[in-house]
């Protein structure tokens, strides 16, 4: 099948599809870009209100420990301390909360905690999957029969570490409770979901308090549970003291107790025939969920490849550490890392190009087209056989695929046009950084027929029309049709008013580029039209829900494929990723810059996961040794490859999901490229120099 893209790239931006018509806004900046880069944008963490109390939790410092003593009196008597409470004396993970302390200032809060002098006695603890997992089932007779049909059976274990979300704005809430009413400034992915945890501590009906989240400094899934325990504490204390209460965790607490991507262990025994047919086998998976007992799922098989008859088994493994929360495509990067590297190892065993194996194994035509196009863009024909290079620097190429579905959400939207010509687009869902403000402004302006600057967007408040929590990549594709409908409704109401005044037929009126036309002739400006309104304003309404989504035929999955080119220094084990071509479908593109930013951000997060990130717990005490941004290593500017986002053209599609799929395939594609470069698989993330050298040594040992 011929590629839908015809021209050759000369620069990252030249990779853009030729048919740009499907992007509603091709060059638009974020509507709130200036606010964000000048510091004018106010995040919940910025809300230092007059007369505030500052509160924090008392936490267990070890993986398992007993609180043996503390000095409540000394803490209470510390100048500035307002209240302190210790409610439990057992801790089962580092960061577990056992009490709280509130004070007049941040400094007094810290001094109070010191004066509390909590003495904990550490107990034995378990800190990783391998210490607590069950063996899992042996090969069933049917699986043995499947494997017997293979020419080669791969028996391999893949592991991934815990990745913490590392939101730059840590978790927290400021509550300003005035008795009869209150405002909660929450750093959240769920403005409306936040009320679930706040009603009780607020002691107010939802009609009496508002949740505000105008900006959020990162969440990635960890802020889906509304205001969380931080918000509940702030609400309870603010209701009690009738003062604003500020609760934001610090960087260490953020690593320990605000969620993470769980660790994983995947054991595959999968067979392949010489002709490239994967016959199936067994895949056993363990997810390291810390103190939780769920949430460790590992998404392999992903469903993107035909892996034959697979017998799957999974176990959540509990131990003494903070528990997972959803993290940008939960379970998927873990699974994709194992699946993609497994495919490359299977291909190597039968001396087949891993791209060819994928083209055989992918279940849909679009992924096949993407694989072929990506191979052209990265220059796959330059790929040598695994480990074929010589000298200290070895070049490698790798590939991975991704997909994501459209999940439904309930959205309500309003567009208000006022007599002075001002326009408000209103829907309460927050912007988690993806560009929701820009997307809503673009849709409303486009549907009205006015310039984007004419639209003021109101989001991130529970007093606005309801919208979803931003998880599962639901926000844009569910909000857009609702906002579109609201804008169309408002426009129709305005045009009706104009028709009434001008004695014209509403069906012959048009609103385009801020001008009203009647039968194609200039009638009046948009502003003049607004002045004819009898009341102060007209309000258009729109909505979207599961039923409408189900009936919509323009949807579908957001497929993608990523190609990696890297260089490895085999003397030091240092990897330099040079290029990543990231092909991604997301249906109709609303704003090209924010769409490409989503892809680039997903790739960066995937690269950082592949090469650097890991929560490291001391094996004896269960305390995290790198709970900071110094030794918890995250990719920085000098680690960046050239990232080339390619928005796959889908001109007849509606808006589809985009937030999560671009981060899924990156780590697997990097691991495959490393395998290609050095001829040995490194089956554990992160791919540190030590791991690369160990993989090389193992391969050398095996060859002797």
């Amino acid at each position: 099948m011929p590629s839908p893209l015809t021209h050759e790239p000369t620069s990252p931006t030249a990779n853009r599809p030729t048919n740009l018509g499907h992007a509603i806004s091709d060059h638009g900046n974020r509507v709130d870009a200036v606010e964000k880069v000048t510091g004018k944008a106010r995040y919940a963490r910025d809300r230092y209100l007059p007369n505030s109390l500052f509160a924090c939790f008392v936490r267990c410092p070890y993986g398992a420990a007993r609180l043996e003593s503390y000095d409540l009196e000394a803490a209470r008597n510390t100048p500035g301390v307002v209240e302190v409470e210790v409610a439990a004396s057992e801790g089962r993970y580092q960061g577990q909360t056992v009490g709280h302390l509130a004070a007049e200032s941040h400094a007094a809060m810290r001094r109070g905690l010191q004066a509390l002098a909590a003495k904990w006695r550490p107990k034995d603890c378990v800190v990783e999957i391998e210490q607590a997992m069950s063996a899992g089932p042996d090969l069933a007779p049917e699986t043995k029969a499947v494997l017997s049909r293979a020419d080669f059976v791969l028996d391999a274990v893949y592991t991934t570490p815990v990745q913490t979300h590392c939101s730059l704005e840590t978790h927290g809430t400021v509550v300003d409770h005035k008795g009869e009413s209150a405002i909660a400034y929450v750093s959240t992915q769920g403005t409306f979901a936040s009320t679930d945890g706040l009603d009780e501590p607020m002691g107010l009906p939802r009609s009496r308090y508002e949740v505000v989240c105008e900006y959020i400094g990162g969440g990635f899934g960890s802020k889906l549970n509304g205001a969380g325990k931080e918000g509940a504490l702030a609400a309870r204390l603010s209701a009690k003291h009738r003062r604003p209460v500020y609760v934001f965790v610090d960087r260490q607490e953020e690593h320990l107790d605000t969620g993470n991507r769980p660790s994983s262990r995947t054991h595959v025994r999968v067979g392949i025939r010489k002709d490239g047919q994967i016959v199936g086998g067994q895949i056993r998976k363990w997810g390291g969920v810390g103190i939780s007992n769920r949430g460790g799922g590992v998404n392999i098989p992903s469903g993107r490849y035909n892996l034959g008859a697979i017998s799957e088994w999974f176990e959540d493994v509990t131990f003494n550490a903070g528990s997972p929360r959803p993290f940008r495509a939960p379970g998927c990067p873990q699974g994709a890392f194992a699946e993609e590297l497994m495919l490359d190892e299977l291909a190597a065993a039968i001396h087949m190009d891993p791209l060819e194996l994928r083209l055989k194994a992918v279940g849909d035509a679009e992924h096949g087209d993407m694989l072929r196009r990506g191979a052209e863009l990265i220059g796959w024909n330059r790929r040598q056989a695994n480990g074929a290079g010589a000298g200290p620097l070895r070049r490698g190429f790798g590939v991975g695929t991704t997909h994501w579905s459209r999940f439904p959400a309930e959205v309500e939207a309003e567009v208000v046009i006022r007599r002075d010509g001002s326009i408000e687009a209103r829907t309460g869902t927050q912007d988690i950084g993806t560009g929701q403000r820009t997307v809503m402004a673009t849709i409303a302006a486009d549907a009205l027929g006015v310039p984007i600057e004419a639209v003021d967007v109101r989001i991130g408040r529970s007093s606005l029309p309801a919208g979803p929590a931003s998880g599962g990549s639901v926000t844009a594709h569910n909000s857009c049709p609702a906002m579109h409908e609201a804008a169309r409704d408002a426009r129709n109401k305005l045009l009706q008013a104009v028709a009434d005044r001008a004695a014209a037929e509403v069906t012959t009126l048009q609103l385009r580029d801020g001008v009203i036309y009647n039968e194609g002739r200039h009638l009046m400006s948009f502003r003049e039209a607004c002045a004819v309104l009898r009341g102060d304003s007209v309000t258009g309404r729109g909505s979207w829900n599961a039923q409408k989504l189900g009936a919509d035929k323009t949807g579908g999955t957001s497929n993608g494929a990523q190609f990696v080119e890297l260089v490895v220094d085999v003397e030091t084990g240092v990897i330099r990723v040079e290029r990543i071509v990231a092909i991604q479908a997301c249906g109709r593109v609303v704003n090209r810059k924010t769409a490409e930013s989503q892809i680039i951000g997903g790739v960066i997060q995937g690269l950082s996961y592949a090469l650097f990130e890991q929560r490291i717990l001391d094996r004896r005490l269960g305390s995290m040794v790198n709970p900071n941004l110094e030794m918890y290593k995250i990719a920085g500017t000098a680690d960046m490859p050239r990232i080339e986002p390619v928005l796959w053209p889908q001109p007849n599609s509606g808006v589809r999901s985009l937030g999560e799929p671009p981060t899924i395939p990156t780590s697997g594609a990097i691991a495959c490229a490393l395998f290609n470069a050095i001829g040995a698989p490194a089956r554990s993330l992160p791919l540190t120099p030590a791991r690369v050298l160990a993989a090389l040594a193992a391969a050398k040992g095996g060859a002797q």
């Binding site: 030091t572 330099r576 001391d618 094996r619 040794v625 110094e630 030794m631 120099p689 030590a690």
Partner: protein, 331 residues
Amino acid sequence: MTSLAYARANSFDEARSLLTNGRYRLPVLKSGGMDIVDLMKEGLLAPDLLIDVRSAHGQGDSIQQRGDRLWITPNATLAEIAASPIVRSAAPGLAQACESAATPQVRNVASAAGNLLQRPRCWYFRNEEFPCLKKGGATCYALEGENQYHAIFGDGPCYIVHPSNLAPALIVLDGRVEVAGADRDSIPVAELFHMPEQGVRSEHNLRKGEVITGITCSTAPTSGFYAIKEKQSFDWPLVFAVASLMMNGPTIAEARLCAGAVAPIPWRLENVEQALRGVSPADEQALRRACAPSVEGANPMSQNAYKTQLLPVAVRRAIQRAAGLPVEDAT
């Protein structure tokens, strides 16, 4: 209630008198303040007086050629040293060592003396949950814990690696710190630090009340630095090495070598220095043979044996860089 006073010293004499007048429980000198702020936040240091010495060196250039040696004010920032035309031509290994450290933001603030005297980055030391030997506790947690970034040389009882990029570079350049406040004028940088068994609570040998007033080193146009890091943005080296060479035509007449991030102090490699005599840096096989003994005496722990693989590579590449040879790598 903790109180903290701040004083700006206009001369090192003034700094020294503030340090020794006995009016404060724990007066501490600060130049850039990078590490001081970290230590205070980590609860490892609670001074009641900060003496800011940034304006203490008076007039004059912060980096000067004095006869056959370089003189650097202790307040010179890493960025200044890295960018200095004098240092870049007369001691490129030193410039490269400064350029490789931390981030541009840190280098613009961090001082030369502060780089020498900063406390180690060991995650057990820096983490209040672990009452390690350095904090007066009974255990080195690294020994049976998470030790991938710890020392491969030394017999304990503490397994930090010394964090300074500058110190090994100065050592191969016969560097000295000029000091005021005791019966000595200067100390070789090679004698500025001690192993944990000589005192685990501190890393350096300055005496109480002693102040670094200058840093000097010889010039060595054939010097070079090489670091191996996991991340290329803002990371501490896994291993690094600095080389200074005296050439006799195409071969090495005499070499000075020092490695970092492998031991509790800057780690001299005298055995490799011996082996390098008469070797041509362009002869890669001979160079590899000469660098191999760099790991002699290493005694790695459970997770840091990879450093023994990295060290000879870092040493070889530092020598190649010193000799002006191209180094092909993945950074």
